[in-house]
Every structure is written in C-alpha cells, then in structure tokens.
C-alpha cells in the first residue's frame, strides 16, 4: 500500500522535502522504507496520523505516518 510519510526537523531539511511516499503495511515498514533513502537515527519515533505508534501498528488506507525526531520544545 502506498503511504505518505511526513518528515520534520532535521529529517525534512536533509531530505530537502517535507514528505515521501513509500510502500508499507505497518508503521515500522514505512520507517524502514525511508531508511533506504535517508539516514534516520534510532532516536526517531513514529507517529501514525497524530499519535505516537509502535512499529507493528498496521496501516490503513489514508493513514499518514510521521517521523518524529527527538523533540526540543519549550
């Protein structure tokens, strides 16, 4: 299934774009697919839509995966 992966922070900067499209059935597969194209540190977390999600989370049509670099708000 084609999935949109949104990139943030230094990942977006390094990719030179705010999102990628990958082929994946779970959140973790989406991450792995991005790693083929872009170095992604271990500390990056995954969100599905607007919630943090485990790697094994299955994706449904229309879900958006986001890669969340270590946060630095405040």
């Amino acid at each position: 299934m084609k999935v949109t992966v949104r990139l943030f922070g230094f990942l977006a900067e390094e990719a030179g774009r705010p999102e990628l499209t990958v082929e994946a059935g779970t959140a973790g597969e989406a991450l792995e697919a991005v790693k083929v194209r872009l170095p992604v540190p271990k500390s990056v977390r995954i969100a599905v839509n607007e919630e943090y999600a485990a790697s094994k989370t299955p994706l449904r049509r229309g879900d958006v995966v986001s890669l969340i670099p270590p946060v630095a708000g405040g």
Binding site: F8, F10, I68, P70
Partner: protein, 140 residues
C-alpha cells in the same frame, strides 16, 4: 475536559494576559505560569536567535493529553498551553503554560508537569543560530 483547557501553537507572540484570563477562576486560589524564553547561551555556545517548528496538529493533541494528566494527577482546574513557532529573538517567549488550582501547591505542581511533559512528548523542534551557522538542538 471542556473549555477550561486552552491550547495554541502558532507564530504569534504569546500573551500572558490571555493565559491568565483563561485560567483564573473563582474556585481557585492560585495560578502558576511558566514562560520559556530564548537564552543567549546554550551548551557553551552564544545563541543569536532560535527557530521553532512544530507538527501543529499533533502538538495540540499532546497539549490536551498533558492537560488531562495535570488535572488527574494534581487537581488543576484550568490549563493554558501555548507554543510559538518561527524565528525568535533573545528574551522572547517560546512557550507559556499556566495552571490554576484551589491551592498553590497544586498550581505549582500542575504547571511544572505541563512544561516537563511538553519537553518530553510534544513534536516541536528548534534550530539554534550562532554567530556563524546553526544547529538542530537535541538532534539525537
């Protein structure tokens, strides 16, 4: 939790007056407010300005979840949480959190909880600008 929780993330300057108006209640005796402001040094470097970016929709979700936690754990009655994005100069406030509670101990504890959790879970990033160059803070 209904309208006693206000959450904001945008490029506008933070408003302490709006925060106080939102959280002050007749059943509360205290309001605690925390503002994070841009500091001129960080980890040995001289800082000139900071640019914040955010995954806004998810930030708002985390803010609401954090406000619920503060209510459950500390009995705060109203919460205001706002984070600014874009380029900020020294002394400008990047984050403003406020909590009201019947008594001051809960107001302080609740407010502290808000800022600690924002720093842990809210998807916000910052680029620190130096005399030359810049870096992503907490790049991991």
């Amino acid at each position: 939790m209904p309208s006693n929780v206000t959450v904001l993330v945008n490029r506008q300057a933070l408003s302490p007056v709006a925060a106080l108006r939102a959280v002050t209640r007749p059943d509360c005796g205290g309001v605690c407010v925390f503002l994070g402001t841009v500091r001129d040094r960080n980890e040995g470097r001289r800082v000139r300005k900071i640019r914040y970016s955010a995954f806004e929709a998810m930030v708002l979700r985390t803010f609401r979840a954090i406000a619920r936690e503060a209510r459950m754990k500390f009995g705060v009655r109203a919460v205001y949480m706002a984070h600014r994005t874009g380029m900020l100069r020294l002394k400008e406030a990047s984050v403003l959190v406020a909590a009201s509670a019947p008594h001051r101990a809960e107001a302080f504890a609740g407010c502290r909880h808000l800022i600690e959790r924002v720093k842990k879970i809210s998807p916000i990033w910052k680029e620190e600008f130096h005399d030359r160059g810049k870096r992503w803070v907490n790049r991991g």
